[in-house]
């Protein structure tokens, strides 16, 4: 059986380098282009013939956008409208990247820790920038939860620093691990079917189909969780307790 992790390796398709930095085009880059292209296509189709009573694609897009708007306002209050374009872009890109990876032969961009890690860093960095911009140095009180007695501070501040540092890590690892684990299971089950004789091969194949269905669900859920956590982290920075 071939190595189930081989699928996740990236090899440059078009080797490029800029000032000594490797910017080769590999399949992950191509899939990201396709994902963003599909998001664009989806919304240009959805907004092509706008009608007051939405139909099909427009209805779907409106539902998703309304849902995201609710999410943003719920977590960040009225200021959330300013972050809505960012959050919506994040959600749709992650969702389309997740779903695109489920097409046989395609590559899951979100199964690269580099990609999810960078997303998480951008989200967390933005929350820091927003926090310092809104509250100035007062933002440091995020390290001391409200109602902490003074003598507990030497203990609480290191704990809070660790839990703050854990935020981008968990955000990145959750999406990456979920997508990678799901695809490894699919690969293993499918190669099991390919090597098994027909009278037993239907079993792993059945499992492959079932797991594929689960992965479709996971693609939506993980995109949702990534977005809601981005909202929560930004909301914490906006509200500060």
């Amino acid at each position: 059986m071939e190595n189930p992790l081989e699928h996740f390796e990236l090899h440059p398709l078009i080797p490029l380098s800029l000032f000594g930095i490797d910017i080769s085009i590999n399949k992950a880059v191509v899939m990201m282009w396709i994902a963003s292209g599909l998001v664009l296509l989806f919304f240009s189709v959805a907004t092509k013939r706008r009608s007051l009573v939405p139909r099909r694609v427009q209805n779907l897009a409106e539902m998703a956008v309304e849902f995201l708007r609710g999410l943003v306002v719920e977590n960040m209050g009225p200021l959330g409208h300013k972050f809505f374009p960012f959050i919506a872009t994040l959600f749709f890109f992650v969702l389309f990247a997740n779903l695109l990876g489920l097409i046989p032969g395609a590559y899951t961009v979100t199964s690269q820790l580099m990609v999810t890690g960078f997303f998480a860093l951008v989200v967390y960095g933005l929350s820091l920038v927003v926090g310092f911009a809104l509250h100035g140095l007062h933002f440091f009180t995020i390290l001391a939860p409200a109602g902490t007695p003074g003598w507990l501070l030497p203990l609480m501040v290191p704990i809070e620093i660790i839990s703050q540092l854990a935020r981008p890590v968990t955000l990145a690892v959750r999406l990456f691990a979920n997508m990678t684990a799901g695809h490894i299971i699919l690969i293993v089950l499918f190669s099991l079917m390919m090597t098994a004789p027909v009278y037993i091969g239907w079993m792993p194949f059945g499992f492959t189909v079932a797991i594929y269905g689960l992965e479709l669900f996971v693609a939506f859920i993980q995109a949702y969780i990534f977005t809601i956590l981005a909202c929560v982290y930004l909301g914490d920075a906006v509200k500060l307790h």
Partner: protein, 69 residues
């Protein structure tokens, strides 16, 4: 719709809890280890880091489940 909402929130919660605990502990341990390497106080800061990280993980979960939905 309300039921659907609760289900989604529950899923998000379930997906957060486990990783939060592990990640905080690992980061605490990593910080302790790095500080040890830097200050040459092996192994004491690693111990402190693991304990603080675990505390941060548990505290994070406590806060997570304590916030009203």
């Amino acid at each position: 719709m309300a039921e659907d909402d609760a289900f989604r929130k529950g899923l998000a919660l379930a997906s957060r809890v486990g990783l939060e605990l592990v990640a905080a502990t690992v980061i605490g341990a990593g910080l302790g280890y790095a500080l040890d390497r830097w200050l040459g106080t092996r192994p004491w800061l690693l111990v402190v880091g693991v304990v603080l990280g675990a505390a941060a993980g548990f505290f994070g979960i406590y806060r997570l489940v304590n916030t009203p939905p």
